[in-house]
């Protein structure tokens, strides 16, 4: 295939990946890696490298907007970044040694798990329970809503930290943002309001991906010719996604469609991994 054909196909595919990723909150990486490996027969290491770069672009772009609104809990993000960056470094180094077909199988499994997690109902809960560690680390905070500032507390700091370590490893190993897992850690385990969880997760994704991208870069996994259409496509897709999101509030069906697409891709990845084609 010629460079120009490949670039156009990847650009279009990445646009839709970015669009769906932003509408569902799962991120573009989930579609990019299967698109490149299964449809275009790109080596999985290059695919993961390109995906990581696009993850950094979308996360940084949207974090810039969220940070200004004051919803992001920067101290919480900073503290948990210890876990995610340490995990990401471990994941990126593991990726060098683990055979590629195992990476493909793991990717498929995490894909399905994340799709299921994204379908669950998001109930806004605010806890006032005081935890010693959260108090010491100044994690309790407040966030602005339509009815004024709402105070919240953070619980189970240790459990959340451990989950973030795991999310970091997966991010470094698979080239995804692991946003779904980060939200589970904060919203599910640490009982942080959903809005704060999602924006803080987004804030952390860029740093997490950067920690593993430095390893990938030096290993030659980040090919500029391949990453170029991926980054441009995903960023444009995510921009369109954020515009649509503002206009329509009923995004349940989009998430269902995405989950179906993701499950098909996941099964493909697992199958290709099992027969050793990846």
């Amino acid at each position: 295939m010629s460079v120009i054909e490949l670039t156009i196909i990847i650009l279009i595919g990445s646009y839709f990946a970015g669009l769906l990723g932003s509408l569902t909150g799962l991120g573009g990486g989930f579609v990019i890696v299967p698109l490149l490996t299964i449809a275009l027969h790109v080596d999985i290491h290059y695919a993961i490298g390109a995906s990581l770069v696009s993850v950094i672009a979308t996360s940084s772009g949207s974090a810039a907007a969220y940070v200004k609104e004051g919803i992001t809990n920067m101290r919480l993000g900073m503290f948990l970044e210890i876990a995610t960056t340490a995990g990401a470094m471990t994941g990126a180094i593991l990726a060098i040694y683990i055979p590629t077909h195992y990476i493909a199988i793991l990717f498929g499994c995490i894909l399905i798990a994340s799709a299921l997690l994204s379908l669950r109902n998001k109930a806004e809960h605010i806890t006032k329970e005081k935890s010693y560690l959260a108090e010491k680390l100044k994690l309790n905070n407040s966030y602005p809503t339509a009815d004024g500032s709402v105070e919240y507390s953070v619980t189970n700091v240790g459990g959340g930290f451990f989950m973030m370590l795991f999310a970091g490893v997966l991010s470094g190993l698979l080239g995804i943002g692991s946003g779904a897992l980060k939200v589970v850690a904060m919203d599910g385990i640490m009982k942080i309001p959903f809005k704060v969880s999602t924006t803080t997760s987004n804030f952390m994704i860029g740093v997490t991906a950067a920690a593993s991208a430095v390893v990938y870069l030096q290993r030659g996994y980040i090919d500029p010719g391949l990453s170029m259409p991926v980054v441009i496509g995903v960023v444009l897709g995510a921009l369109s996604g954020s515009k649509i999101l503002v206009q329509s509030t009923s995004s349940k069906w989009i998430r269902v469609v995405f989950s179906v697409v993701v499950s098909i891709l996941a099964i493909e990845m697992i199958y290709n991994g099992l027969v050793g084609k990846i």
Binding site: S2, V3, I4, L6, T7, L40, H41, V42, D43, Y46, V53, I56, A57, S59, S60, G61, A63, A64, V67, K68, G70, M74, R75, M78, F79, E81, I82, T85, A86, A88, M89, A92, I93, I96, K138, G206, V207, A209, A210, A211, S212, V214, V215, Y216, L217, Q218, R219, G220, Y221, I222, D223, P224, G225, L226, S227, M228, P229, V231, I232, V235
Partner: protein, 126 residues
Amino acid sequence: MNTFKDRDMQSVIGWVLRIGVYLSIGFVVFGGIFYLYRHGHSIVDHSVFKGVPDFISTGSGIIHGIITFRGQAIMQAGIILLIATPIIRVACSAIGFILEKDYLYTCITLLVLLIIFISLLGGHTG
């Protein structure tokens, strides 16, 4: 006083992230045009992993490539800038926490930077 400074840090960080993303995407698009113009009709095969071309695997190679308008070098410079953006954001937070005299969080932030630095070395030797 404290909240005022937190607000300050938020706007600086938002600003750093935005400039980083715009600048790096600009580099990638600009380099991409050169790359497609020169290599658009070449045949590529990414199915076998063989690293990246030698001239973009070192810093000096990339700088030389940018001066001579080689598309791949310009794109790679954009990608490196993009990867550096969140790291610069962390460094800015460290300065912000020092200004706020929040020494606990200064240490936490420096620890994150240290981990990224170790990761940088790990990629070389591992």
